[in-house]
């Protein structure tokens, strides 16, 4: 699936690398004991360390280190047993220390891989360059006062993982698939909630283009802080087109930082390379190098959950699902768990169809979440059991499902109350068939003279007369016998 952009001078390829800032799930900040809850009153979760008070010193939070290692292992990446925290120096009102503690030359996690699940069911590997731990800055509020800015330091010092991909993506769709897959892995691992709207996952996109067949990369631009998958895809599409237009008009692209205006759907210059900060990175003398023992890493590795790729493999193997179905079901862990509960001991394909079909549709309509589903996995399983043992037909099952949504009652109770039990009594069905054939003597004659297609009509009439409760297989069998 190659994505090429047509230009005046030929086809162009887009080259994309993403830097994702993922907020670490932890009770306390990276270097202080202050809380990290989202949505707290401004400046209520700030320790003297986070406020950059004189004489305050950072102390590493071991939970955050564990989470970074866990994430690294989840990305099949190399864990660096020795890493170093460095100061990234710049002035801003919401950066109280005047520097951000980050990792520069020696990050905690090295190279890894993410497998993208593409819409056609195929996969594609994207390299991870590195993952490092760093502090978040505070937040500047510019809309609270006509001439002043307000500062909220609740976020100051919160642990972030910066996850940097290699420039391996070639289309906005791949970038979108990368973000979704990364988010899925982080959620499986429980290391980041992946909530882009709340800012706990933010994305910087590095974009360049080159004519098809050209080796090497051209100058890239970095689009900062894009906050949804859709916007990332839009921003890349816009930016790639902009580069091509510039090149084809004989211009050159300047390396710069750009912002995406989601209202206008365009990117615009934020600062050029000449105005780029000189961050004066150097090892933070307040912190010793971070040294991990092999046991520490091994213990985390032993506690890793089954991740989406492995789960997908297993679903394909054990449940004979298609790569596409399996991919859809494992994207979210709660969904995968829901599916497994439904599928366990049952027809997996039927379970997959029900979950991805009627159930997903109902879930969307209800506006509820998989954690609080409109129909429980046990009840949906029960419904499938009723189909499997011929208590109800597939058609009646849809009706039962709607009633389950309405009433929340188990399917067996609904079938019982509404008398929806399938009729398998041969005599009773024969009676219905006789009545139908008697009422449609003309059609019977037509059928007998060779109009085979009418067979379906008779089945329909019998089903209708039995209010859908007649067992369709029996109806077929008996009709065939009667019509000779």
């Amino acid at each position: 699936m190659s994505y090429l952009i047509q230009g005046e001078t030929g086809d162009w390829e887009v080259v994309i690398g993403l830097e994702v800032h993922a907020q670490v799930i932890s009770k306390a900040k990276l270097f202080s004991g202050a809380a990290t809850d989202f949505g707290a009153e401004p400046n209520t979760q700030v320790s003297p360390v986070d406020a950059g008070m004189p004489g305050m010193l950072p102390v590493i939070n071991e939970t955050c280190v564990e989470q970074a290692v866990r994430t690294g292992l989840g990305l099949k990446a190399a864990i660096n047993l020795t890493s170093v925290f460095a100061r990234k120096n710049y002035f801003y009102a919401d950066l109280p220390q005047g520097y951000q503690i980050s990792q520069y030359e020696a990050p905690i996690v090295g190279e890894g891989t993410i497998l993208l699940d593409l819409p056609d069911g195929s996969t594609r590997a994207v390299g991870i360059e590195r993952l490092h731990l760093e502090q978040d800055a505070g937040k500047s509020l510019h809309d609270q006062h006509p001439s002043k800015s307000y500062i909220d330091l609740n976020r100051s010092g919160v642990a972030l993982m910066e996850i940097v991909s290699k420039p391996d993506m070639r289309s906005p769709e791949e970038a979108g698939a990368y973000l979704k897959k990364l988010r899925s892995i982080l959620r499986y691992l429980g290391t980041c909630d992946g909530n882009m709207e709340e800012g706990s996952m933010r994305c910087d996109c590095n974009v360049s283009v080159r004519p098809v067949g050209e080796a090497g990369y051209r100058t890239r631009c970095e689009i900062k802080n894009v906050n949804s998958v859709r916007f990332v895809m839009q921003a890349i599409e816009y930016e790639a087109r902009r580069h091509i237009d510039v090149y084809e008009e004989g211009g050159t692209i300047q390396q710069e930082t750009r912002l995406f205006d989601s209202a206008k759907g365009e990117t615009r210059s934020m600062r050029s390379k000449e105005h780029a900060h000189d961050y004066r990175y150097f090892p933070d003398p307040d912190l010793l190098p971070l040294v991990l023992s092999p046991d520490f890493v091994a213990n985390i590795e032993a506690s890793l959950p089954e991740l989406p790729d492995e789960k997908k493999e297993r679903f394909m193997r054990d449940f004979a699902l298609s790569p596409y179905d399996a991919g859809v079901l494992v994207a979210d862990k709660a969904t995968a768990d829901f599916f497994e509960t439904v599928a366990r001991g049952r027809d997996a394909k039927m379970a997959a169809n029900w979950v991805t079909g009627d159930f997903f549709a109902a879930l969307n309509r209800s506006g509820r979440s998989i954690e609080d589903p409109p129909v429980t996995a046990a009840n949906l399983g029960g419904l499938i059991d009723l189909i499997a043992d011929n208590t109800i037909s597939g058609r009646i099952a849809k009706e039962v499902f709607e009633l389950m949504l309405e009433t929340g009652k188990p399917p067996a109770v609904i079938v019982e109350e509404k008398g929806l039990k399938q009729v398998t009594d041969t005599g009773a069905i024969e009676g219905v068939i006789d009545t139908v054939l008697a009422q449609n003597a003309d059609k019977v004659a037509e059928y007998k003279s060779g109009k085979d297609k009418l067979f379906g009509f008779f089945v329909g009439q019998v089903m209708k007369a039995s209010q859908g409760k007649a067992n369709p297989a029996l109806v077929n069998e008996l009709l065939k016998a009667k019509l000779g």
Partner: protein
């Protein structure tokens, strides 16, 4: 009552225990001395009422048999230590009005041991200086005078206020901090004992940072024994400082056995540069002789990278300082000079808030960390630092302590050397290598020069072997018999 201010920490401690006088009397005497010596400008903030409250509480604890190691003993605290509820300035305009809501670990430890704080002492701004002349609150006068010359002299720096206060008997001891010599050089200039412990021995938490990889708190006292007692109360592992050493605190006072027989004392030949003042060379020779007489063996050693120490220090320390001082931006506390934009506010605040020496070091530090210069300066300095530390490591394979002069001269007149930073930086030539290697060093008063000014000798020890260091210093102190008193302190 004057006599009470003349006691050593050990004597005052024992006197309180015996009930010869009360903690209130002892503190009252010091409060009065502090007030009488205001001309020295040794204090930025005096805390006489707080001191009396603490003394009364100490009295109660002594009475009920719950006395700590420093119970009721009045100390002066360098105004670089954050003290809860008491103005903390770092001698900088930029920290105007800053009252910390927390107490530094070292001063908290002292409080826990029962110490009484008489006030916060003057220093070079952000501890950057060797004369105390860079203080926003003005220079400190050394209580010593040259014979027949009443011109005021500097107390050294950066812990100049602490050194002057201890020499002038305004506190039984004082805290100092040492980054490149800031405890040892003023101790030498003021005729007192100053100990810079091993890096990591005392917590840096709550001390306004100058250069994080070098800063270390230590005691400034009138005797080696007092330094041992005070260090015992200040030191200890602190989980709030990642660079604090997870080691138990030995009983340093117990280490003062008086017996140094068989110890090897290294005499580094690189510390005898051409042009070393005659009187400094002479006092050093006397020191070697004293230790030899006590049964130790002087051994000539080489510390070949010594000549790179000052340039290395003046890259590493400003680099860290440029980053450490970025937080003083006018946004959250201290001075703010309003500006049209955020950048304008930064510019105006920092222009008004920092003095010339601080600005010079922030600029140097910013430069050496800049893209394109980092490798030539900062990275190279780190390599040299490793080599300098390696020199000491090698030396300590064959010696137990090292003896050197503390400073290349005695105290100089107030206002001198201010026009040439390099000359000023040379004051630290003998102390900086120890700091770069993170080793403990102690300055002990060794005698007077021809003009009647005190000179100090420095002993350098193995990492975390303050015990041997103090043991040798104690012997040397006894041999030196330094009994001279500064002007204004009656014999």
């Amino acid at each position: 009552m004057t006599a009470l201010t003349r006691l050593t920490i050990a004597e005052a401690r024992d006197g309180l225990a015996r009930g010869d006088f009360t903690a209130m009397e002892l503190t009252e005497a010091h409060n009065r001395a502090v007030e009488a010596a205001r001309g020295l400008n040794a204090f930025i903030t005096e805390t006489p009422e707080l001191a009396m409250e603490q003394a009364a509480a100490s009295h109660e604890r002594i009475r009920t048999g719950r006395a700590g190691a420093l119970e009721g003993l009045p100390l002066a605290i360098k105004d670089l230590f954050c003290t809860e509820g008491v103005l903390t300035t770092a001698a900088s305009h930029i920290l105007d009005g800053f009252v910390p809501p927390y107490e530094s670990t070292v001063t908290a430890n002292l409080k826990k041991a029962g110490a009484v704080m008489v006030g916060k002492t003057n220093l070079d701004e952000f501890a950057m200086g060797s004369s105390n002349m860079t203080s926003h609150y003005g220079g400190v006068e050394n209580p010593w005078r040259k014979r027949g010359d009443n011109r005021p002299l500097v107390p050294g720096g950066s812990s100049g206020g602490s050194a002057a206060a201890v020499a002038a008997r305004l506190g039984l001891g004082a805290t100092g901090t040492d980054t490149g010599g800031s405890i040892r050089q003023p101790a030498a200039f003021c005729g007192i004992v100053g100990l810079k412990p091993t890096y990591g021995r005392c917590s840096r938490w709550g001390i306004v940072a100058f250069a994080s990889s070098l800063d270390q708190a230590g005691p400034m006292t009138r005797t080696v024994r007092d330094a041992a007692i005070m260090l015992g109360a200040m030191a200890g592992h602190d989980p709030k400082d990642s660079t604090s050493a997870p080691l138990p605190v030995p009983d340093f006072e117990k280490a003062l056995s008086g017996d140094i027989r068989g110890l090897k004392v290294g005499i580094p030949r690189e510390y005898r540069p051409e042009g070393l003042a005659e009187e400094i060379a002479a006092v050093w020779e006397r020191g070697i002789a004293w230790l030899k007489d006590a049964g130790a063996e002087p051994v000539e050693i080489s510390l070949p990278h010594t000549k790179y120490a000052l340039p290395t220090y003046y890259i590493v320390a400003p680099a860290e300082a440029s980053s450490n001082l970025a937080r003083y931006d006018g946004v959250r506390y201290g001075l703010r000079v309003e500006g049209a934009t955020l950048d304008d506010m930064y510019r105006k605040t920092r222009a008004a808030g920092f003095g010339a020496e601080v600005k010079r070091r922030v600029l140097i530090g910013t430069y050496v960390l800049s893209a394109g210069y980092y490798d030539a300066y900062y990275a190279k300095a780190q390599k040299l630092r490793t080599l300098i530390a390696g020199d000491f490591k090698t030396a300590f394979e064959s010696v137990d302590v090292i003896l050197t002069p503390t400073a290349p001269s005695a105290a100089f007149p107030l206002g001198e050397k201010m026009d040439d930073p390099i000359t000023m930086y040379l004051n630290d030539v003998f102390t900086v290598p120890t700091s770069l290697a993170g080793l403990p060093g102690i300055s002990v008063p060794a005698g007077l020069n021809g003009e009647g000014l005190p000179l100090g000798l420095q002993l350098i020890g193995r990492p975390f072997d303050e015990e041997t260091l103090l043991r040798v210093a104690d012997v040397m102190e006894k041999a030196a018999e330094f009994k001279a008193l500064p002007a204004g302190v009656e014999a």
